[in-house]
Subunit: 150 residues, 3 copies
């Protein structure tokens, strides 16, 4: 599924969220990495240090796939985009309802939260520079210590 071709800026940025989920849930972590800039600030919560490079992000997510999750499903909705005046930056937010199945056989984990991202247009493609996950709540998730919604 080629991204962003023929889409306006808002639609392309919404599609960036969907490409993130699609790559993550199919286990294509290298594909997911291509959605990000080389230097990033990705904060999945207080249970882990923010990730600051694409290489670190890919390594952390690949480890999650290899060690923790046998399947995940990230359902993204409520997408809102605010374009910046410079035409090459935007802030966006999406709700996420995420379901996780564990390799350990632990009960499925669920998360009700949101992603806040900062994105930038680079060589014609919108890329994620900054991502923060915050949560309204979780059920049986491997981490119950998440950033609150603010």
């Amino acid at each position: 599924m080629p991204d962003q071709v023929g889409l306006g800026a808002r639609e392309a940025i919404a599609d960036l969220f969907y490409a993130y989920a699609d790559n993550l849930d199919r286990g294509d972590i290298a594909g997911l990495g291509r959605l990000f800039t080389d230097q990033v600030h990705v904060d999945y919560g207080p249970h882990m240090e923010p990730l600051t490079s694409k290489a670190d992000l890919v390594e952390a997510l690949q480890r999650g796939q290899d060690e923790l999750f046998s399947a995940t499903s990230h359902h993204l909705s409520n997408v809102r985009v605010r374009l910046e005046d410079d035409g090459i930056g935007a802030q966006a937010t999406a709700y996420v309802y995420a379901w996780h199945r564990y390799r350990s056989g632990a009960p499925d984990g669920e998360l009700w939260g949101r992603y806040d991202v900062g994105v930038r247009l680079i060589d014609g493609d919108w890329c994620v520079m900054r991502l923060r996950l915050s949560c309204a709540g979780t059920r049986k998730l491997h981490s119950d210590h998440m950033h609150p919604i603010r």
Copy 2:
């Protein structure tokens, strides 16, 4: 997140649903009130009388926040908009998957339903005049007496 700036009518009306969820889930009930006209018809189900003014709506939702819910998350999808010929009215519907955590410590409540709304363009902003919640089903919700989908 400023609403509706640079959006077409359909996108602005979808964003109105998302602004509703965002304000509700962050507990900004005054902000939620600003999305509605002064006179409203809001029907959350047969367990409570329809609300007929913005002031009553804000009071009822604020009481829910203060007394009932410690957190909520309203995931809106399947947004469909039908613009009216006059250019200043529309009917719209969105699916809602809503998760609720209770102050009482009761198990989390879930709801699978939809919002049907009537909206109107007033001074350049789309506002909600009418809202009806109906449900396919619920699980451990504080009310199990909801309007059916029709």
Copy 3:
């Protein structure tokens, strides 16, 4: 809710997914049938043979309504559309979080998956020719033998 009027191709195809869910969840299986071409290829998983005509699809879904489900709710998100060069074909995908209540009184069944569809513009309306359901996972669903995400 009239479909597709005033929408661009991408929006009309997204709306086709929403019309599918709306008709299915309201039990209007004849209405759902009208979204499909006469000849179809609909594959809901290895637990049943692919359906190859609109008549067979309608019959199978009507039987599900009559015998199995007392209510369902299909929450569609992450919609991505790839238009084909001929202007009358497209491939699209949507995530689905589906909730099912059973006539038998069995516990509610949930499914986290996606629909992949092939659609075609026929006499001004986008119609579904091909649909495949695949799943990241299920909980207490009547079938736990589904196509995996690929």
